[in-house]
């Protein structure tokens, strides 16, 4: 968020005020040439301001914007501790958008159902986390559970936008002979981080792809699950199932008697041919809030107090995970 905010701010403020940078030696002469080549607003300067922010973006931020967001909070690492784990504000209605819906799994929890405005407060709180942190949480969760989590389309989009912007900036500054030594060093740091973020995105998508292929048939058969997938993922699941079934048909099933050809049969003992996530698989959770008690199958009860860690069946705690009260480890 900070990235955009600051850049937007750079646009707002008139250029003389926003360039009190001490080491701006050659820039005035350069600015002329640059603004001549790139229509009007000093594009290079804006780029530069994205690597090297203004001395006090925090001040202006607060005065200029009523709804000041992440920029200030990125300084405040302690705020992470009171992050309450919501990955998304609860949206209303399932949009079928390609890259993901905005709904949160726990949207129907009863706590924040109904009016769409309550999401605003949640939103403010979750601004404490930067996108990279959020993404790593989603990734850890996706890796830790057997079930497919919700596709974090908005988050991924935001991260991609930022990555793209950084890449553009790096390319431009790289090819500019005027770029100083210090800026080259910064560019190196920027690129290092980009690689880290790209790794996260890759691993997140791969993990999901793995689950989707594993449970492809089940997913295509269960419309209830479709909102968890992005458009591309859903069509992949469908095509994958189709391909697999066609392959089975051609290679084996066609030469079997008709009653043995089904792909979605259920055996006498209740075992289905369609493999689905085993919700009995234990997960490791860390309770960020007091999650009350759960009843284990033996009739025993276990308290999920705040700050404790448990290894417990996924189906017993999925609601707390979806609410963000419990964190998957």
């Amino acid at each position: 968020m900070s990235f955009f905010d600051d850049e937007a701010e750079a646009d707002l403020s008139p250029s003389p005020i926003r360039r009190p940078r001490p080491n701006q030696r050659a820039s005035s002469s350069r600015e002329g040439s640059v603004s001549a080549s790139i229509g009007g607003s000093s594009f290079m300067d804006r780029l530069r301001s994205t690597v090297s922010p203004q001395p006090d973006p925090r001040h202006r931020h607060q005065s200029e914007r009523s709804r000041s967001k992440a920029s200030a909070s990125v300084y405040d690492e302690s705020s992470l501790s009171n992050y309450n784990g919501r990955e998304h504000e609860p949206g209303s209605g399932y949009g079928g958008s390609l890259l993901g819906d905005e709904d949160e799994d726990g949207g129907g929890s009863g706590l924040d159902m109904g009016d769409g405005f309550e999401g605003e407060d949640e939103d403010e709180e979750e601004e404490d986390m930067n996108d990279v942190k959020k993404l790593s949480k989603c990734w850890v969760r996706e890796r830790g559970t057997v079930e497919l989590g919700e596709w974090q389309g908005d988050l991924i989009d935001a991260v991609f936008d930022k990555l793209e912007q950084q890449q553009k900036m790096v390319n431009t500054l790289r090819s500019d002979p005027q770029t100083s030594e210090e800026e080259h060093f910064k560019l190196m740091l920027v690129q290092t981080e980009m690689e880290r973020v790209k790794f996260l995105v890759r691993s997140y998508v791969r993990t999901r792809l793995h689950k989707i292929e594993k449970y492809a048939h089940y997913i295509t058969l269960t419309p209830n699950m479709h909102h968890l997938l992005s458009g591309a993922e859903l069509s992949h699941a469908r095509r994958y199932t189709e391909l697999l079934h066609t392959h089975f048909q051609h290679s084996v099933l066609d030469s079997l008697p008709e009653w043995l050809r089904k792909m979605d049969d259920t055996y006498g003992d209740g075992l289905s041919m369609v493999s689905k996530p085993n919700r009995n698989t234990p997960v490791l959770i860390y309770c960020k809030k007091d999650c009350g008690e759960i009843t284990l199958e033996g009739g025993e009860r276990a308290a999920l107090a705040r700050g404790t860690t448990h290894l417990v069946k996924y189906k017993l705690v999925d609601r707390w995970i979806n609410l963000g009260w419990a964190e998957v480890l």
Binding site: R21, N23, S52, P57, G107, R143, T207, T309, L311
Partner: protein
């Protein structure tokens, strides 16, 4: 296929280290530079005598270029670790609360920046002791009766890395225990499932 087999059991120690590197640490820079804006936030300015807070990966990368001195976190000191070790030894029933990623953090710090730590070799052996005491406790805990009986285990204060070591074994053991149990409420479960999978719209 999309995910290699060794990654399917959950996070690997390398990936946990990756996560640990996202956490912040104080450094004293040995060079000056204005603020730098990264995706995860704005860091700096870097002015030699004053400390700055940066993510661990950034600190390590600067350290490798000899551009900074890392200020070790306050728990990574001999006195502190000795107290922790003592507590850990005396407290046979449960585990002490330690920083979540202390193993990963201390390892990379000892590897990359031993010269910024006080007596790195002593620290290393203290950390090793601490880890071994905890591992021994885990082993004893698993042997004790009834732990593997249910499919639930409270593992408070164990760090994610220690849990990662345990998880494949526990998950497998629990799976076997489950398959040995008689299936009873299968149908009921099925209905439950359909409502739950939807996620967004189950009624509580």
């Amino acid at each position: 296929m999309a995910l290699p087999k060794h990654l399917q059991n959950g996070l690997t120690p390398d990936e946990l280290t990756f996560l640990a590197e996202e956490e912040t640490i104080d450094i004293v820079p040995l060079f000056s530079m204005t603020r730098v804006r990264l995706l995860s936030g704005i860091y700096g300015p870097f002015q030699p005598p004053s400390a700055a807070q940066v993510p661990l990966w950034l600190a390590l990368s600067l350290k490798r270029k000899r551009k900074c001195r890392i200020v070790p976190p306050d728990w990574l000191g001999i006195d502190r670790l000795q107290t922790l070790l003592k507590e850990e030894r005396e407290n046979a029933e449960s585990f002490c609360s330690l920083p979540r990623r202390f193993i990963e953090t201390s390892k990379v710090l000892l590897d990359v920046a031993p010269d910024d730590l006080m007596q790195p070799s002593t620290l290393r052996s203290l950390l090793k002791d601490l880890r071994e005491v905890r591992q021994a406790k885990i082993r004893i805990g698993l042997q004790s009766e009834g732990v593997m009986r249910g499919s639930y285990l409270q593992v408070t204060n164990l760090t994610p890395l220690e849990l990662t070591e345990l998880k494949p074994f526990l998950v497998k053991a629990m799976g076997i225990m489950q398959s040995l149990e008689p299936r009873k409420d299968e149908d009921e479960e099925e209905e439950d499932e359909i409502g739950r999978v939807a996620g967004g719209d189950y009624v509580e």
